[in-house]
Amino acid sequence: MRDLVHIFEFEELLQEAYNDLVRKGKEEGRRALGYTCYFMPEVLLDLPGCFSVHLRAPRSGSPDLATYYMTNRTCMYGRCLLERALEGGFNFLDAQMATETCTVTCRFQEHLQLMDIIQNPDFFCEFTDVPFKKNENAIDHYEKQLQAHVLDQLEKHFGIDTSDAALLKAIREHNELCALIREIGSYRKLEQPTITGTEFSMIQLVTQVCPKDMIMEQLRDIAEDLKTREPDEKPAYRCKAVLAGSEEDDPYFIQLIEECGILVVADRHCYGSIPGREEIVVKEGERPLRAIARHYLETSMCPRFMEQHIMRERKQFLADLVREYGADGIINCQVKFCEYWSYERTINTLIMPRDYGIPVCSIEKEYVNNAIGQLRTRFQAFAESIEYKKLQEGGSRG
């Protein structure tokens, strides 16, 4: 396929957390607000006067100092973030809007509170409590938390306008971006997709780590470009898969999968768009903050949710995704030491083939991908097994 417009520019923006657009946003006098989890609604951090940055630590090596603080038995994502912070890579942050949603990222953020790491006199770190259920009680609770620990803090520290009108505006802009991402992502549903998983992941990531208003034009260009983009005559992939799992902010990992002949057609993980880029609907008479709280709880598919029916619906959701995107299987990845996904991956690996007939490639990986050789072997074997299955099915049909 021909090169996608702006894709190299986007790739460049992902090379460091303090990228050109973040720099520009800061120069305009806006506040950069860091977060690590979907449960910190980015729409609230994108109010006028500030912008959200989903923290990443691209091009990380060995997080030695962070390993002293957090040992080598914790998730490397959390450690790499701490290492980057200790190196001064997050000094541009004006605040960290924290959540205690998984242990290690929580500890990382507590280090920001406890130690004088972020060299920015205005910096503060504020935690929000996030419920484990999706019921009305949970939405009430979450709404109160977001008001007290996000909106009130932004107003108090930076004088941000957090009125309903400002929220509605932020929701409108957010929805506009989400609609574009959904449109771009929809080309993955084609029988022969006209966008690769790697490209999509770069686009999706850029929307999370840059001031959104600064990339809207480029996103429109991409959406336009895709309308006329033709797939390769002979597909470069052998099968298609949904990538599910925990934290995944490295487009080169997806590139690795695709180099092995598996096209990634859907991204159901912490940095993914499914869920993540759905429209926020404000019901009639509903406070915008309430709508945001409801939206983020209802759309999230995090294994942190404990209600029995929700736990079980997650598998159905994954199966539906495979069908919707015409995938042949699931690559279920988990960053080593992520406890939620250790369990979710285990049950997915057993239930999805058994109850839904969907093959699963179950992977435990590090945040910094050093084990490329082993991963390549796993993915190639998975692609082969799917091809073999297809051949068998074709044979039995014939």
Partner: protein, 64 residues
């Protein structure tokens, strides 16, 4: 009656003494360690068990 009582006391005394020997020389521990536990472990290892990974996984109602 007196004889019976004497017999009972003697029996109780011997039993008490025997129990003390079991206690002091840790004979209860040795019995459990060398005989009971290996025997039971063999039993549990051989026991036929359900394959619980065959448990159905259907959707459930919201219970609150």
């Amino acid at each position: 009656m007196k004889k019976l009582l004497l017999k009972l006391i003697t029996f109780a005394g011997i039993l008490y003494g025997l129990l003390f020997l079991i206690f002091y020389f840790d004979l209860d521990g040795k019995l459990l360690y060398y005989i009971w536990e290996p025997m039971m472990t063999r039993r549990y290892d051989k026991m036929k068990r359900r394959d619980n990974t065959a448990t159905p996984y259907e959707m459930k109602e919201d219970v609150g």
